[in-house]
Amino acid sequence: MTRPFNRSAMRRVAASLMLSAAVLGTGLTAASAETLRWARVGDALTLDPHSANEGPTSTLLHHVYETLVRRNTDGSLAPRLATEWFIHPDDPTVWVFKLREGVKFHDGADFTAEDVVASVTRVTSETSDFKGLHTAVAGAEAVDDYTVHIKLNGPSPLYVQNLTNFFIMDKGWIEANGVQTPQDFKAGEEKFTVRNTNGTGPYTLVSRDPEVRTVLALNPNHWDATPAVTEIIYTPIKEAATRVAALLSGEVDFVQDVPVQDIERLSNTAGIAVSTGAENRTIFFSYDMSSDSLISLPGDNPFKKPQVREAMALALDRDAIRQVVMRGQSVPGAQNVPPFVNGHDAALDAYGAPDYDRAKALMTEAGYPDGFSVDLNCPNDRYINDEAICQAYVGMLGRIGIKANLVSQSRTIHFPAIQNGQVDFYLLGWGVPTFDSQYVFDFLVHSPADGRGGWNGSRYSNPELDAKIASLATETDLAKRDATIAEIWKTIQEDRVFLMVHNQLLAYAAKDNINIAVHPENQPSMTTVTFK
């Protein structure tokens, strides 16, 4: 363990500042080997496990709550609270889960099939942000203490893929605290579950100060192997420079969101190691392509014109963004799905060079020779250089006459605005925890109805496509299903529902005595961390 501060240097500065040594002390306590001080840009939005389907929130929750299955870094599924799962031999619409025995919740309650049933009920209720993953669910049934049947509306061979962020809560605890429904995050609801947890996970919640720090301690009764990290201090640090400074000065051990510009400096710093890898996440623009009138352009909607959408695509210089904004830390593409997800098609993902002349011609053709003016909503604390990407694109759009007014906001405002249909044109990132394109379709492409399309900010609505998307859930013939997926992607690309920018590459930086691998879903688990 390196000591973060030099003691004699501390005294010198103390003396020079004319402060008494008593006030200052003689140095900082170095973290003990078991504590991992983890910094990232933002905090979990809530601790309610079914309230916000959002990466950082799930990442933190995975340490406290557990899922039935977990995903290995290669995309395959591994047992967690479920030891076995299979489609019922007699009924293709029923999934059978055999549960792990002897697991206890943090409050001491036993983990049983009833808990899974209660959790299914909760995650499918109206205020759940994950209900889009469970649209096929008709009901759950506890067959015995350690067997659960989840009944679906039709056969759904891939349903289990949707369960990697499905956290199991304790039935008794739910009832005792009256939290049968998830916190309504969009409406800013306050609930007991927002700051109190009772999971089965490897860590228990010690304290939570939203946006300040969250402390987790090892759960001594956990069923799995004891991890090396026994305490986690999770600190959101919004300012990139402060985050890097904290690592450089030794105040944190692990920075999950390393600004791309600092990768080089950190790599060259003794005692700090940087690891990079591809993330299961695409960054894309989208726009309201169905309303007749835009919020920022009342009475008109240029995005309805295919030529405008094509012109906007032609104006996007992905390579420049990769080179300058991302400093090479991205994989540009044209299909809004990461390469390792089922349904990715290299042909669809190929992108061309920008063509501003052609784009301008298309704008004229569409009836906008002088362009138009519209708001571009952008988060500034979620994705790598999100605001800078938007800003760069504003410049590119300017060259074809589109004046985009950048409205750059925190994700806490940006996301509800998209979900509430209050944006015309926006940047969003999307990861695919199921490793299957259906996840993208369900949330981003399907019309906002039937529990699907919750993040469909483009308000794209294609009944024919909706039907195809709905069929995916129950299609058992995988070859046929893949063909449908390819058809859907073809239509999406033709209609230009998304303006894909790139796949994010991740960079983690940590003290070099800490082994931590980049997680493709950017959901690193501290249980896997080892010390050198």
């Binding site: 500065v13 700051r195 300040v212 904290a246 925190s410």
Partner: protein, 327 residues
């Protein structure tokens, strides 16, 4: 004396009422709470029901009375952003801000008075000139830039002091303090300097100006004419007379330190009410904004009252008309 205090208290209550009105207006008229709490797809009936439930259909005066009654009990509702009772949030962040404000305030006062007296007594000295120039640079450098500079030098390059947060904290009942741990004490150094520097230059300039004014006064001239030593004149007579207005103004500055902490807290990721407020402004988290406003007003009113009493105690002339004594 009693009448005087009573009068001041009544005035304080009036000030609080005015601030409460502003707070309430924020609540009531800025950002429709119904629109904030419900999505686009909510039906008209749902909206009406919510309006009714929130009491938004009552006469405004009734709503205001309700607001005051709730505010008096510390109930400012739930933060739109953090889904937590506002009062709870503010109380949990307040110790961090108060510790920072008190330490930087003390730093600013001690150094400010020291430098101010020195530069007033040695008006034409080289060092005085240097101090005055540096202080002007201090006033011209925005706080955030000073903070960045300090982080860069002391946290990153020299690695002497932490760059963010409060370090380890210890809970003393509801009060979470960082002053009892080494890392907590080390963490407060840079933010306290950043926050105190500007206030220090202000106090220094104020002390210098007041002191020069006092040194020109008749009673100082008369004290010299009586043959008192420079020491007795400067520190026995001039300093005390200088400090009377300085203390009152500095007392009021404490309120502004708490508010100026907004910037410092942002730069240093200091988990206080200032950082909470700035995030709330960006989010238009009205309940937190309103409560913060009331809190600052309350602190102001209390400090004002204390300063008044202090003034009453220090200045035998019992100048009741404080406004005339202020500058």
């Amino acid at each position: 004396m009693i009448a005087y205090i009573l009068r001041r208290i009544v005035q304080s209550v009036l000030v609080m009422l005015v601030v409460a009105l502003v707070s309430f207006s924020l609540f009531r008229f800025v950002g429709d709470p119904v629109a904030t709490m419900m999505g686009q797809e909510a039906s008209q009936a749902d909206r009406e029901a919510l309006r009714d439930r929130l009491g938004l259909n009552d006469p405004v005066i009734v709503q205001f009375a309700g607001f005051i009654a709730r505010a008096a009990q510390g109930d400012f509702g739930i933060s739109y952003r953090l889904q937590q009772p506002v009062m709870e949030l503010i109380l949990s962040r307040l110790p961090a801000t108060l510790e920072l404000a008190l330490i930087s305030g003390t730093l600013a006062f001690v150094l400010g008075v020291g430098f101010g007296v020195y530069t007033a007594l040695n008006r034409r000295g080289l060092l005085s000139g240097a101090i005055m120039t540096v202080s002007l640079i201090g006033v011209s450098l925005p706080t955030f830039l000073i903070g960045i500079l300090l982080i860069w030098i002391f946290a990153v390059e020299l690695q002497w002091l932490p760059s963010f947060g409060r370090g380890e904290t210890v809970d003393l009942g509801p009060w979470r303090t960082g002053l009892l741990t080494e890392s907590g004490r080390a963490s407060i150094v840079l933010p306290a300097i950043t926050l105190g520097l500007y206030q220090m230059t202000l106090i220094m300039r104020l002390v210098r100006a007041e002191m020069l004014e006092v040194l020109r006064s008749d009673y100082i001239k008369f004290a010299r004419a009586r043959g008192l030593s420079d020491r007795a004149v400067h520190f026995g007579h001039a300093l005390k007379n200088t400090l009377v207005p300085v203390i009152t103004i500095t007392g009021l500055q404490l309120g502004s330190i708490i508010a100026f902490a907004i910037i410092t807290e942002t730069v240093f990721q200091w988990p206080g009410v200032g950082a909470l407020f700035i995030n709330s402004v960006q989010f238009v988290d009205i309940p937190v904004m309103a409560a913060y406003l009331m809190l600052i007003a309350l602190i102001f009113v209390v400090i004002n009252l204390v300063v008044d009493l202090l003034y009453y105690a220090v200045d035998p002339r019992l100048r009741v008309d404080r406004t005339a004594a202020q500058h």
